[in-house]
Symmetry: D2
């Protein structure tokens, strides 16, 4: 059990019908993806071919912002708003898809892009799995 | 002309078909709304009746996060992604609507909620106006 | 009176001895600087000479993060912690100084760096003025 | 090896004299602490005795902001600024200390505060260890 899952157990009110495993998984992937995208953007800046990686930096920065915000919103349960959660998850999936696609184009040349692409795919899937379970 | 509008003028590449006035307006409202929601959440914590304001604090925190992220994404133009922008604007509108509705319920008792409700309405409208213009 | 100053007026408890004008000014400069640095980082990515601007992008990103966090912490007054506030302001001043210095080196070539350098200088000064007033 | 440590291995330029284990550890603790503090603030809002937990919510929010920003800055290595890093780590330690102390006061009553206090202590120590190693 990860720490975000432990924290879910301590929530003093009703968490509702939400699938706790999918929720904890999605929170963890969001925070991991935020860190990885921040690091990938910076690694791109130190590549000799940075001029060919500017779109990659931008998708990294957007994805880091979206994942951080999604991770925060999913960590709150008081006054839960299913509609906002679902549209935010959709936006996060789009950011992960864009960043994963862009990083995948450089995955063979840059190890940071390879890891980042895989992380974005996992986060996108975790968001989609959670969103599907919300009905 | 606000500073965010000035910065748009300095962007060295093509901004595309985007309506610059609506874009600058939306960026400004997002940053103002982020600050106001952060301050409103804290003011709620210092009210005697804080126990009746917990949902308000939560919607404030979500709205602050969404507005900060939306303001950041809208401040980037390199590798622009219309689809992500539109879904993120929609999520931001939902967060502003939820927070504006919740704050409006306390607007007569708490001046911070009155100002915050108005700010959320303006930000929601600015997001919608920009989103409509994106086609 | 800016909106952050208006929000200070609505705070329901005692704000203490803090200089409200310097506080509101500092909050405003932090949010403006966060937006400007985010936009400057992106504008740098679209310059032909991006390879010479990578340090500038990095200082922009750090400064945007520091200013956003400082603006948030300064927007909270419940359980005020003078010591944390002062060290955080010092960190924000360092980030603004580093970004202002770096952008100033490109101010004649890039209008976004010129505006960003000036904004960082103003924010650095507003942080220092507030910090001095905290005793 | 955690993913942040893996990302350090992929950085294409020189990381300098920095202790990679301490750096990766600190990044991980910052992101974990940011998530935990966000969840703890929300759990406090759902406690019956929320009126006695308002200072705890505030220290949680500050600590979440500081940890997120510190985690981001530590994830960047291009144009490394030792002075900023050290002062930011010091600010993060203060935020973790304040939040850890406040949560520790409620640790016996609230499991979320117990976990959060421990997490803040670990993050504070990881920041201090890294800062000491920076010379």
């Amino acid at each position: 059990m990860t720490q975000s899952a432990e924290m879910l157990e301590t929530y003093p009110a009703d968490l509702g019908q939400i699938d706790r495993d999918k929720l904890a998984r999605c929170i963890d992937e969001c925070f991991t993806c935020a860190q990885t995208c921040t690091a990938c953007a910076d690694a791109c800046l130190s590549e000799d071919m940075v001029a060919e990686l500017t779109k990659c930096v931008r998708t990294d920065l957007d994805c880091a912002d979206l994942c951080a915000t999604t991770g925060n919103v999913l960590s709150r349960h008081t006054g839960y708003d299913a509609n906002l959660t679902k549209v935010l998850l959709e936006a996060c999936e789009l950011a992960c898809k864009a960043c994963g696609d862009e990083c995948a184009r450089h995955a063979e040349q840059h190890e940071h892009c390879r890891i980042c692409a895989e992380t974005c795919r996992r986060c996108e899937q975790a968001c989609r799995d959670l969103r599907s379970s919300l009905g």
